[in-house]
Symmetry: C2
Subunit: 385 residues, 2 copies
């Protein structure tokens, strides 16, 4: 059994070290001036400069090393230039660890109206107040810099699946040209990183072409984008398998917007190092709890007189100390405390899962760990997790 | 300067001791098996078995010795018999200190529909699901017992002001008859208390008649009800002044549903020992902060780039650590964290105010303390507190 290495401290430059592998899976650490990200890592989503319904100290205490900020939301409110005047996103939201920001492109597509996309970039109207904005690759990098982001993402065009191969190819090529422009705009920033995003929809050959071209840009990390947008899990996993051999072993790999606990385990087994997803926080606001025993819908009447807790063995007070009957009552009553407790529980479960995966990879027993975890889910109320 | 006495520990029976007085104001302690309530006390409102947007540990840590539960809400959801099966309200909401419950009467009047009131009690329809319920004085005491309440309130009829003296008198007399029935239903419960409620609207003679008759029932505490329902503050204070000489010095006095920080100070100076009010929690969910410098509306655009905190000298992290610019952003974005932080700040301010009042009474400098506190408010953005 391989001993788990010491957690390395922050470094002046952005670095990634793999400490152990188990099949395609790896565990290691990304280090940078603001701290260390233990990988595989799950990044809680702090859309509008807050991981919803959580104090920042709680997020940190659960073991999150990095949070994600959404460039689209933050550029509209409070605004990128205002954020810079206020001292940047870290100070604003009281998170002193690393922050990753997306490019804003995905949410321009999904949330704003009157989108007009061309070679130059994308013009859109704010979903908040209808104001008109333009986002180019250069402006996306400028905004992420104003926010003070540690890991910045290239602007890309993300195609909804299913889509015609021609449309997927065209978007992938545009994303590559934008990656080059983002790289030029980002320049050299010691201690920070720009990640490229592999596109190509559900077409393996396009995914491979995208990965190879991005690797030619010698970026500090590579994301896989445009997945978890409604396609079957098998398609998502096939795309990871197609891309992974073409990504350098010494750079972190980030699967964007994924996913369920099962998605995380299967993706880690295929070589992914980083994830973000709104699932644990959003589900927590809708009465759903992730537990060792599977997913639990607290809205269900079966919990009305259940004095058991979500998980008496958890170190998270939300899982350990509150009865399901009480959580059921809070959810049915639309009480804020219900959202607070279930979000807390869910993020604790996700972070514990990642810690378990890191330990299992270090110990060379990832497959057993995943089997045991899935067997635990089967003991729940029958809900698939 | 009188030294502040030690805080007494819990006692088998319900007891009240005054440790010091300053004019009509008193400071002391109510002791009972579940703990000690330092008076004057502010009781955070935990309507539906939760002080909204707060973990119970936070409420306790701010210095709250007792919380209030709303019988009307809890009898409808989760239900009184169900609560008893679940082990009572303390265990349900994870609050092991004293709990005071109202009788349910006030919210039957203000929230339910199809109310029909007669000598026997009140019939009404739930505002949640339209189910029909009956509440008699006996049933109110039974429900409060099923909840496990430590301090229970008599059922009363509360008249909206302004009202005709005849209507006020009739409601006051009905409330007295119900007080007797509640007393009989409550019986002898060592360690617990039943409080009577002085009614009589804005008519001093009716208030005095009500107080005298209730004192004749030899209850363990006396509340003043039916105030803070829209009348001017001067009327409320005049009613306290009319009633106070007729209440026994050795029993706690509770002013129901009050109030602003200024209301609390002026009522304490007139001999009130206990308060409850939704103001700090409700205001916190609507972007309003109570501070040493007065009331601050965080929604106001003037705070958009204000990096100062609400109160850098506070021991409450919500007041001390987060910039007004960030709070403004959270409030404008309808983020749950904004409600969490402002509720926390407001309850901290209220509890700090009560601690200040207790210390000032013990030191015989209540008037100076109130003058200094009001002078502090004048430094705020001009908002009256």
């Amino acid at each position: 059994m391989t001993p788990t290495p010491e957690i390395p401290g922050p470094t002046d430059d952005f670095r990634f070290r793999v400490h152990a592998t188990d099949g395609a899976a790896r565990t290691g650490a990304i280090t940078m001036p603001r701290g260390t990200i233990r990988t595989p890592a799950f990044m809680p989503v702090g859309t509008a400069a807050t991981v919803k319904a959580m104090y920042p100290e709680q997020v940190r205490a659960l073991g999150a090393d990095v949070v994600l900020g959404n460039t689209y939301h933050l550029m509209l409110r409070p605004g990128a230039e205002r954020m810079a005047r206020l001292g940047g996103l870290h100070r604003f939201m009281r998170w002193d660890g690393p922050i990753l920001t997306d490019s804003g492109g995905f949410q321009v597509m999904s949330l704003s109206s009157l989108r007009k996309l061309d070679e130059q970039g994308v013009t859109f109207q704010s979903h908040i107040d209808g104001t008109r904005h333009h986002m180019s690759p250069e402006r996306s990098i400028e905004i992420q810099g104003l926010l003070g982001s540690d890991i910045q993402m290239q602007l890309d065009e993300c195609v909804r699946l299913p889509a015609e191969p021609k449309a997927i190819e065209s978007a992938m090529h545009l994303s590559l040209r934008w990656a080059e422009r983002c790289r030029a705009a980002f320049g050299e920033q010691p201690g920070k990183a720009l990640f490229g995003i592999v596109q190509g929809g559900d077409v393996p050959a396009l995914r491979v072409e995208s990965a190879k071209a991005l690797v030619g840009l010698d970026l500090k990390g590579y994301a896989i984008g445009g997945l978890a947008v409604g396609e079957p899990q098998a398609v998502m996993l096939a795309m990871i398998e197609a891309v992974e051999p073409h990504l350098p072993a010494g750079k972190p790999r980030y699967l964007m917007g994924v996913g369920t606990p099962d998605d995380l385990m299967r993706s880690v087994a295929r070589g992914i190092d980083m994830f973000d997803c709104v699932m644990p926080t959003r589900a927590g606001r809708h009465g759903l709890a992730y537990t060792r025993h599977g997913r639990v819908n607290l809205r269900n009447a079966r919990h009305a007189e259940d004095t058991s807790t979500l998980d008496e063995t958890s170190t998270c007070p939300a899982a350990r100390d509150y009865s399901r009957a009480y959580l059921h009552h809070l959810v049915r009553s639309d009480e804020i405390l219900g959202m607070m407790l279930l979000t807390w529980n869910n993020l604790a479960y996700y972070q514990d899962l990642m810690a378990g995966l890191r330990g299992a990879i270090a110990a060379g027993r990832l497959a057993d760990f995943c089997d045991e975890t899935r067997a635990g889910w089967a003991r729940a109320e029958g809900a698939r997790t």
